[in-house]
Symmetry: C2
């Protein structure tokens, strides 16, 4: 029995089907709130939101108008949600070639007043300088960065409060348990710059104490000292530069071996 025969009898319209399939993107960036000469940075994790226009591109009243929301949009049937996320991010912000990852599906009945609409949530990690050219497009009247400390106080569209909450938990975990911090940093960075990134999501003393962290960074298998290369951008005393190297990091609960 071939699929061709089966297909002749299959009627795709017979069943209740979703009314839409969307991709939303939580774009994270880190802003240096203090960046004086010869000072280590102080950083704050931010998320980029858009303010939904009062009217849509055809001039009709918009759903959830005036509320803050994650950028995103409908997935075309010729692409995956992941591709759609990358495309929409590029269209809406001009940002491309960045770390983008799927982290969740939001399909609770009633989450969108327009009907049965399934959303795939992604997060993106973008260094500050890449967002300089951002601007609002047709469906958005404003684009703005909010500190993750206050973003949940906003009036958010749909179930985006929930999605953003999850996204923050995910990025926190990724920053601490993977080498994702790399995406927030320049190629070559000092221990205090990596430390500042990590301090946006934790206050653990092993990271917060300078002496401890300066020593620790030398033992991390995925970070390499760039021998002889130093900078004075964070202090008057020239500071050692490091870079990430691609090694598989195995952190099983049951053994601490570097890797095999």
């Amino acid at each position: 029995m071939s699929n061709e025969q089966a297909m002749q009898q299959y009627d795709v319209k017979k069943y209740v089907t979703p009314d839409g399939y969307t991709a939303d993107i939580a774009v994270f960036t880190i802003l240096s709130t203090k960046a004086d000469m010869f000072k280590p940075p102080v950083m704050d994790l931010h998320i980029m939101l858009i303010k939904r226009s009062m009217t849509d591109s055809e001039g009709r009243p918009n759903i959830e108008a005036g509320k803050w929301a994650l950028p995103g949009g409908f997935v075309a049937h010729t692409e995956t949600a992941f591709q759609s996320a990358a495309r929409e991010l590029k269209e809406e912000t001009g940002v491309e070639n960045i770390h983008l990852e799927h982290f969740g599906v939001y399909d609770t009945p009633g989450r969108d007043p327009r009907g049965w609409i399934i959303s795939n949530a992604h997060y993106a990690i973008v260094p500050e300088y890449q967002l300089s050219g951002r601007q609002a497009n047709d469906d958005a009247s404003e684009v703005e960065l909010f500190s993750v400390k206050e973003v949940l106080n906003l009036d958010l569209a749909f179930d985006h409060a929930r999605i953003i909450e999850d996204a923050i938990a995910v990025i926190r975990q990724k920053l601490l348990e993977t080498t994702a911090a790399k995406a927030f940093l320049p190629e070559e960075f000092t221990y205090s710059e990596l430390q500042a990134v990590l301090l946006t999501v934790t206050d653990d003393s092993a990271i917060a104490l300078d002496a401890a962290f300066a020593r620790k960074i030398k033992t991390l298998p995925f970070i390499q000292e760039i021998s002889g290369k130093k900078t004075t951008r964070t202090s008057k005393k020239p500071t050692q530069l490091y870079r990430f190297v691609d090694v598989k990091v195995n952190h099983s609960l049951y053994h601490t071996r570097k890797q095999g």
Copy 2:
């Protein structure tokens, strides 16, 4: 501008929408391939598949008929994919109250010959004894367990080869990096039983060597010795029993602290 006004002008039928939304479940179980008296077990990780019927419930030729596939089915618009996975698993296998988790979305255009069909993949962890009552339902002509070592040699329906490959990678990671092994074990277990579970997905010497692992298990913060309680089911010498305890396990790359 209220959502009510916007909704009056919104036509849900205006856009191309998905033709279906499904949930698939990779049900994992561990079979003891050696379970003699006074012997530690030897285990093998298995995945449960169904063989797709030649005809559907209404007697017409079925899509991907005769091929092996993950159990699953269409999500109703009154439920989430996750709820659907739990429901279908219960309907198809009688199994409930188990560890079930979403791990991926499969939406590549063309993945299903019936049209634009999005699948949410889940994995389930089921102790061997819970699968004893399994039986094929209408859409399936057979239900069978396959070792993960050979399952990819089968003729698999749709893109299930890819999904299964991903599921195996996910469960491997979950077993080693979280306390998921708990779901394969009885409440009280010996070090060699936990060891046997882990050896289904790794051959690392720190786990494979008895003396090393017997010592290691005592230092794991999420495992507790049941003081004074022993069993002889794995050896003639009475063996210490352990249980999992619920503690938050923090395994950041940047510090090894137990937790705060």
